[in-house]
């Protein structure tokens, strides 16, 4: 571990009277796989969306590469976003575009690649996720697992330094979940990315995690390795993890 790539200090976010994040502070270091655990509705996805600038926090600060991203102009924020990838819970593939167009979309919009380079990059990235045969398929023709893989391919095609995953294994069967988790770990090593993974899948976390936190009602209730979390005496943690272990 060396420099913190992402630093969050006293982050607060509410929707109306409902407090989602309550003075959250954490640091994610370069090359680290950081897991955010928690039950549904505890503010995990909101935290990710704040980091990427989709939601504006009510208070606190988010620093990426040492610079605060709050109150940045859209152009400056977009420069930071170009170094980040985001895998959405439902993959968020563009329905009206083929797999090829989905992957090439961020490249065409933000960089000046030739047609040949675009094609090469697309095929190479699809190769990494093992789906080069789906290049001409439409999103509606893909299964849940394939959609996640294509979503992942679209996120990494720009070679991001930071990768954010929002529930990467939700809605998948255990075998596909494991495959996706292994793929995330492989890609992280291959591309030397720093990752934040929001999940409540213990198996996924065990495969990927270097370090993890558990969120509950907007507060961090525990931070540590997966082993430390699963062996904790905290009643809520024991409940949460025993449930996950039974599911596995």
């Amino acid at each position: 571990m060396n420099n913190p790539i992402i630093e969050i200090n006293d982050l607060e976010k509410s929707f109306g009277d409902l407090r989602i994040l309550n003075k959250i502070s954490l640091s994610v270091f370069e090359g680290e796989n950081f897991i955010v655990f928690g039950q549904s509705g505890t503010g995990k996805s909101v935290l990710l969306k704040c980091i990427v600038g989709l939601l504006e926090p009510d208070a606190g600060d988010i620093k990426i590469y040492g610079n605060s991203i709050l109150n940045l102009k859209t152009e400056k924020l977009n420069e930071i976003r170009k170094t980040m990838g985001f895998l959405f819970q439902g993959a968020a593939l563009y329905d009206s575009m083929s797999v090829r167009e989905n992957l090439q979309f961020p490249l065409i919009r933000n960089y000046n690649f030739s047609k040949e380079e675009l094609e090469q990059k697309t095929i190479a990235t699809l190769n990494m996720v093992g789906l080069e045969s789906a290049i001409d398929k439409m999103p509606s023709e893909l299964s849940g697992g394939m959609r996640k893989r294509i979503g992942l391919a679209r996120a990494i095609i720009t070679e991001p330094k930071i990768m954010l995953y929002d529930e990467p294994t939700t809605g998948l069967d255990p075998i596909t979940s494991k495959e996706i988790s292994v793929l995330i770990l492989e890609l992280q090593k291959k591309l030397n990315m720093t990752s934040i993974v929001v999940t409540h899948d213990l198996l996924c976390a065990e495969i990927i995690a270097d370090r993890a936190i558990v969120l509950d009602k907007g507060d961090i209730i525990k931070e540590g390795t997966i082993k430390e979390l699963t062996s904790s005496d905290n009643k809520l943690l024991r409940n949460f993890f025993s449930h996950e272990i039974i599911k596995q």
């Binding site: 976003r81 170009k82 819970q89 439902g90 961020p106």
Partner: protein
């Protein structure tokens, strides 16, 4: 851009309905301002505009063709006995063509266009909103407003006047066929009478207002889609409310435009 999402209120009180109404007006105003801000920023989405224009043309071509033909045909058939009663059947081409050009073709084409296109845009953009596709664009450092909204609004604003000119021609063909059925005049006489009865003051204001109608269809559909909330229910609501709002605004703007036309060209009032 901070446009409030439109919350759907079940069993809303009068006060809540009133608040929602003003929220809509405020939101639509902010959305319009954002449109004009983005309109003059680069890049211009030429490819997207062309794609949307072509799609919109194909989507509405058949329905406006049928509507246009029936409009001209029925109008001529209905007008003939009335004019015959006063011995004024010679005025049939002028009456029919002026009604079609000044009012019926622009307004009916716009209303059909609103029904077909505004709902489509509302449904398309709102489904992208609820499935996080718009967020995905934003995270990819792409401006979704420019890509999705500005291109669509430009396309609807350009395509509606073109469709209206086409509907005028189809309606006149329909009217001529109805006239043939009454055996009252020749093709040459009909055409000459139509051309001699149309003035600059008839055609230009009628076409100018269709640009406004096209803009309304695009901006309302996009606004309803972009601010959709509440999953698949929100998608359905965005598409239906887009049609209602666009149709109402078209009728209000038509009323204002007719008044302005009469004020500017009193001779055609």
């Amino acid at each position: 851009m901070n446009i409030p999402k439109i919350k759907y209120l079940r069993n809303a009180s009068f006060h809540e309905k009133l608040e929602s109404f003003f929220n809509n007006i405020g939101g639509l105003t902010v959305f319009n301002i954002e449109f004009f801000k983005q309109l003059f920023t680069l890049p211009i989405e030429i490819a997207q505009i062309k794609k949307h224009m072509s799609e919109l043309g194909v989507k509405t071509f058949s329905i406006v063709s049928i509507m246009g033909f029936i409009l001209g045909f029925v109008l001529a058939l209905q007008s003939f006995p009335v004019l015959e009663r006063f011995g004024a059947t010679d005025f049939l081409p002028a009456t029919v063509s002026l009604s079609i050009i000044r009012e019926l073709a622009p307004i009916l084409t716009a209303l059909i266009f609103a029904g077909r296109v505004s709902s489509g845009i509302g449904a398309e953009i709102s489904s992208m909103r609820v499935t996080e596709q718009i967020d995905a664009m934003e995270v990819s450092a792409v401006n979704p407003f420019k890509y999705l909204v500005v291109s669509r609004v430009i396309a609807t604003t350009i395509i509606l006047p073109i469709l209206t000119i086409y509907v005028i021609m189809i309606s006149l063909i329909g009217a001529f066929i109805a006239v043939i059925m009454t055996d009252s005049m020749s093709f040459i006489y009909f055409i000459e009478a139509v051309i001699s009865s149309i003035a600059f003051g008839d055609l230009i204001p009628a076409l100018v207002k269709t640009y406004f109608f096209g803009y309304i269809v695009g901006i309302v559909g996009s606004y309803k889609g972009y601010t959709a909330d509440g999953g698949t229910e929100g998608v359905g609501r965005a598409s239906t409310t887009a049609v209602v709002m666009a149709s109402l605004l078209i009728l209000i703007v038509d009323m204002v435009m007719v008044k302005i036309t009469v004020w500017l060209w009193p001779s055609i009032g």
